[in-house]
Amino acid sequence: MSESAWSAWPFDATLALALPAIAWRLVAGRTLHEAIVLFVSLGLLTSIAWTRLDAIDVALVEAGLGTGVTGALLVSSLAWAETRVSSGPLPPRRPFTPWTFGLLVVSGALYLAWIVLASGDGRAGLSEQVAAAMARSGVSHPVTAVLLNFRGYDTLLETAVLLVAALGVVSLRRPSYGPARGEALPRSNVLESVVALLVPSGLLIAGYLVWAGSHAPGGAFQAGAVIAGCAVLLLLANRIRAPRLSFPTRALLSMGPALFVALAGAPLLAHESLLEYPPVSGGRSIFVLELALTGSIAVILTMFFPPLETSDGGAP
């Protein structure tokens, strides 16, 4: 915790009050539009809260994936729903639903508070074991060491889940999905010129996040989310076509998970256990793996976004 922690208590108190208030409005809200706007605000404030707790990695993931990509997905689903479902207020719910939900949340929060208080001096957990093993991890940032080395199987399975989700999305699409090749698309000059400014900055930030992952907060998931954000901007500005399942797309999609499986399995040939990278090459393998994962995650997240509606945008 930084030295300014005590002078910032009014800020922290405001944050601590605003989070449950926004969450309440979100649950009690009457329209989808209102709920989505509140969801994005909640995510931004949550990532500020993680920053205040010195959990920069969590804050980056919350801002990039939990708020950025998810918020954009929700907005695009809302736009889809508006053309098909009547977009009035939600049907009235039984009045006790928010209360039941609130009760669950409050008891969950109390349980968490009890765990924190019962663990004593706050140093419980695995941070000492992680610190002791850092020298063998090949990287100098504890979060990256845990995610890609000590608990690598967790991340391996997560990337597999993302890959399967992207394949599920693709298989549910109409074959004629997306504008046909050569079809003239509407363009917006303002959107295009701002996108031309934002996308290079976004790619620069993504590159920094991958590079920083080995010694500071950052990494493949955050960088992938930023690149996917750039891709969605380009899709919205009609500068690129939505990715089809062509051979290059398949190669990009599977690059990260495949490399991960290969790296995880390689130690088996040397009669070690799964995911036991040799200490010397650990850092290099982890960096190459992060690069490949960034590419795959970016493409996977981009595939979640439906393309713009064209003239045939009827019911599927």
Partner: protein, 100 residues
């Protein structure tokens, strides 16, 4: 040093004032166009003051450049989103307010 702290505090308070004005405008103005006008103009100016206030206290050139970069990105994206919202509203037939 005291003068610098005071300058920083004055800039931050000015920034907070513009954010507050923008929020009042967002809540009180009659239609989507005037509301967008209030929120983007006042908030971008407010953010400029906040960034300037933090710049005064920044310790390194790198931090300063990051702050300026942040401001530029927010300016670009907020002007873009306000234009998109206004255009969408206009295309869907939202009538501009007139004082009659």
């Amino acid at each position: 040093m005291i003068a610098l702290h005071l300058l920083s505090a004055a800039l931050l308070v000015a920034g907070a004032f513009f954010f507050l004005s923008g929020t009042v405008g967002l809540l009180r103005f009659p239609d989507v166009y005037t509301r967008l006008h209030a929120i983007t103009k006042a908030d971008n100016l407010g953010l400029g003051f906040v960034i300037a206030g933090v710049l005064v206290e920044a310790h390194s050139f790198r931090t300063m450049m990051k702050l300026v970069f942040t401001w530029a990105l927010v300016l670009a994206s907020s002007s873009l989103s306000s234009q998109l919202i206004a255009k969408r509203a206009f295309d869907r037939g939202a009538k501009p307010w007139s004082p009659t």
